[in-house]
């Protein structure tokens, strides 16, 4: 039966996350972007919210719709700082993949890492590194004695230098597989953190694999293998949620400004061109939220949400770019300077809208 009603638990969780995002993350976002670093104390506070722990703790009863809940929380966090949201969503996605699809031994060895007091980083490598998405050689695994050999490179892993593991999505004999790779393994090399257009605080780097040996029991799910599409779909749900939060930040900042900014003797909000921009922003923002939550609810009910998750990603990437673009325009020249967050949001919007994988909800 169709329902748009959040549960009370979901509403409360959102409220807590929103409070945190606006009072802690938002004021720190500009400094983190300039320094290209997320403050450890802030990430520690983000960690205390318990997103990764909730999926890693397989003993505790899961909430009714864990993916929906995480999507809601990531949206709230992204209102404060989408880079911080991405940074927490990466270990969240990794832990979720292990908790849902890991072998008993993989769960035993890895999940406790995410139950610690301090942040523990990991991520999901999906998009291959190399100059151009379509031209690069896809990362491949070939069967070897007692395991596999991994060759290739994954792009733009957030907090790469601090990740203990990467869940590498690669093909093996034409099939999609997921391999748990410790960053200390021989043959793994992490590039220097790249200067990127946006999400600078995430210190993203490429991770290359030069015939890295992966024991058979470190194939996600071991003999059973894994549903890799589910992991990809989860990342798209998470990205949609973060894009939604970013869009909300733009909208919530632009709207009151238009009522105060006086041009030609009246508030610019009274001019149709501006008012219509706001109306279109609202329409798109509402829409992308429900697209994302629909895909999230499907992942909570089904093994995959291929079409819904991809369409939610397509919609939210297009819409967020437009919202950030028009948001910056509303502020005129001020929107272009680094004194206001609009230009940062514009860069983050473009960045979030071209990545894939990396995280989960």
């Amino acid at each position: 039966m169709i329902s748009f009603a959040l549960t009370e638990q979901q509403e409360i969780a959102c409220s807590v996350a929103a409070d945190f995002a606006l009072s802690v993350l938002a004021p720190a976002a500009r400094a983190a972007d300039e320094a290209a670093e997320l403050s450890p104390s802030i990430m520690s506070s983000v960690w205390q919210l318990g997103l990764a722990q909730a999926v890693a703790d397989t003993e505790a009863g899961a909430s009714e719709q864990p993916t929906v809940q995480n999507a809601l929380l990531l949206e709230e966090l992204a209102r404060g700082d989408s880079a911080a949201a991405l940074a927490i969503a990466a270990p969240l996605g990794f832990a979720k993949a292990i908790a849902e699809q890991g072998s008993e031994r993989q769960q035993r060895e890895l999940l406790p890492l995410f139950l610690r007091d301090q942040p523990h980083y990991a991520a999901i490598g999906y998009v291959d590194a190399g100059w151009f998405n379509g031209a690069s050689q896809p990362t491949q695994a070939v069967k070897a004695e007692a395991g596999y050999r991994l060759l290739g490179a994954k792009a733009l892993v957030p907090m790469a230098a601090q990740c203990s593991h990467l869940l590498v999505l690669a093909t093996c004999d034409g099939a999609d597989e997921a391999f748990i790779v410790p960053m200390r393994e021989a043959g793994v090399s992490i590039s220097a953190a790249k200067d990127t257009l946006g999400l600078r605080a995430c210190a993203m780097a490429d991770i290359a694999f030069e015939n890295v040996f992966v024991p058979a029991n470190m194939r996600l799910g071991d003999n059973a293998g894994a549903n890799v599409q589910r992991i990809i779909d989860s990342s798209r749900v998470a990205l949609t949620a973060i894009l939604t939060g970013l869009s909300r930040a733009v909208f919530d900042t632009a709207l009151p400004y238009t009522k105060e900014r006086v041009v030609h003797g009246e508030a610019i909000a009274r001019k149709q061109s501006i008012a219509f921009k706001l109306a279109d922003m609202h329409i798109a923002l509402d829409a992308m939220r429900w697209m994302g939550l629909k895909a999230a609810s499907e992942l909570d009910a089904e093994p995959t949400a291929l079409r819904s998750a991809r369409l939610a990603q397509i919609f939210s990437t297009d819409a967020t770019m437009r919202i950030a673009d028009e948001g910056l325009q509303i502020f005129g020249g001020h929107g272009f300077t680094r004194e206001l967050p609009l230009e940062m949001w514009y860069r983050n919007a473009r960045s979030l809208s071209v990545i894939d994988g990396l995280i989960g909800a």
């Binding site: 719709q65 929906v68 379509g134 149709q272 991809r310 919609f315």
Partner: protein, 380 residues
């Protein structure tokens, strides 16, 4: 708990509606060269088949809600090009319920009532209404004078609810609504308007020339409330837009499939065939529009017509239909122009959705005013 799953009964009703829409497709072109023809009450193929709206009203098993499923049935009705049986979404009747007295509603509830708002000078602006209603104290009647255009159900309706300016010593120049029945002297219906699309729809002008109606026919409800109730029809129009868009998309995907082009949900933009990429973007917009319609009706079911949800749905649907039908013809290429197939008709039909029942611009004005807390005077 959030869920977008249709119930079994939802599926049964909508499945039946889709089936019947496909049966109607053979009649889709019957009005293209003959606009004076009116839709029959039902086509022969409807005989013996359950009416989806009646199935909904039967209210037996679990459904997602009457208003939601009602809107989604209309989506299906528009999928085929013409409806297999004529079901008039009679906004006039819902308005009468809200604005009329119980006696007035009891008197006309089973009549089809059209809405007469638009005038030659003044489409989107009710304040510019020139049609007048002069009160005659000697006969206790109102005499209407004026013209209305683009009126849906003009010919087929039993009565029309007319927006007119009162000429009454106690209510000078105020707008109000009046119910005029067919056959009332002085009430004329013009010829069917020549339209680019939706040619099966009954659209004509109305004229009032000293058209006298009894005082009982003055529907003197709160006008603001009356105009607000129009918001109920907006998501339904967006549902029509979804139906036409769905038909256009399905047709185009089928042609692409025939040449081996399928959507690849995991392909990067550089690996996706351009046509598939474009259609996938439109599919995303289609899904988003569907959600906006369903949400508007879900909220309406729980709380009554909301302030802007319905305008959001209408704005999305109107824009969607334009983009989808334009893109589909582009992708289909020259063959898409042919009147031997339906895409060119859908292209012509779809263009109205961003115009009637409140233009794209009016919806955005309504939304923006609400977001900004502005009166119509402050933002117009």
């Amino acid at each position: 708990m959030i869920s977008f799953k249709l119930t079994d009964r939802d599926r049964e009703i909508l499945g039946e509606a889709r089936r019947q829409a496909k049966l109607a497709a053979k009649y889709a072109r019957d009005f293209e060269n003959d606009e004076d023809k009116l839709l029959p009450a039902q086509y022969p193929e409807a005989e013996g088949l359950p009416n989806a709206h009646a199935m909904l009203d039967a209210g037996s098993d679990e459904i997602s809600g009457h208003k939601i499923i009602n809107a989604l049935i209309y989506l299906e009705d528009w999928y085929g090009g013409v409806p297999l049986r004529e079901v008039r979404y009679s906004l006039g009747n819902s308005v009468l319920k809200i604005a009329g007295t119980p006696q007035q509603f009891a008197h006309w509830y089973n009549k089809t009532i059209a809405i007469g708002l638009t005038e030659p000078v003044g489409g989107s602006d009710p304040a510019s209404t020139r049609t007048s209603a002069r009160y005659d104290p000697q006969t206790n009647e109102w005499a209407l004078n004026g013209e209305k255009i683009f009126i849906t159900y003009a010919q087929g309706c039993d009565a029309v609810l007319v927006l007119a300016r009162m000429l009454h010593p106690d209510r000078p120049q105020q707008l109000s609504t009046f119910l005029v029945e067919k056959g009332t002297p002085g009430f004329g219906v013009g010829k069917q308007i020549r339209k680019m699309g939706i040619r099966w729809e009954d659209t004509a002008a109305l004229s009032f020339s000293d058209c006298r109606i009894p005082a009982f026919n003055h529907i003197d409800g709160d006008l603001k409330k009356t105009l607000q109730s129009f918001s109920e029809s907006r998501p339904v129009v967006a549902a029509y837009a979804l139906g036409v868009s769905r038909a256009a998309l399905d047709f185009t995907w089928e042609r692409l499939r025939e040449i081996g082009v399928e959507p690849d949900y995991n392909a990067s933009p550089v690996r996706q065939p351009a046509a598939a990429d474009r259609l996938m973007h439109l599919e995303a917009e289609w899904e988003a529009t569907w959600l906006s319609v369903v949400r508007a009706k879900w909220v309406e079911q729980r709380e009554g017509p909301g302030k802007i949800n319905s305008s959001v749905a209408k704005a999305m649907g109107g824009q969607l239909a334009r983009k989808v039908t334009q893109a589909c013809i582009e992708i289909l290429g020259a063959c898409g122009l042919s009147a031997n197939h339906l895409p060119e008709k859908w292209f012509r039909d779809a263009r109205i959705f961003d115009i009637y029942e409140g233009t794209a611009e009016i919806q955005r004005l309504i939304i923006a005013r609400d977001l900004l807390g502005y009166t119509p005077k402050e933002l117009n």
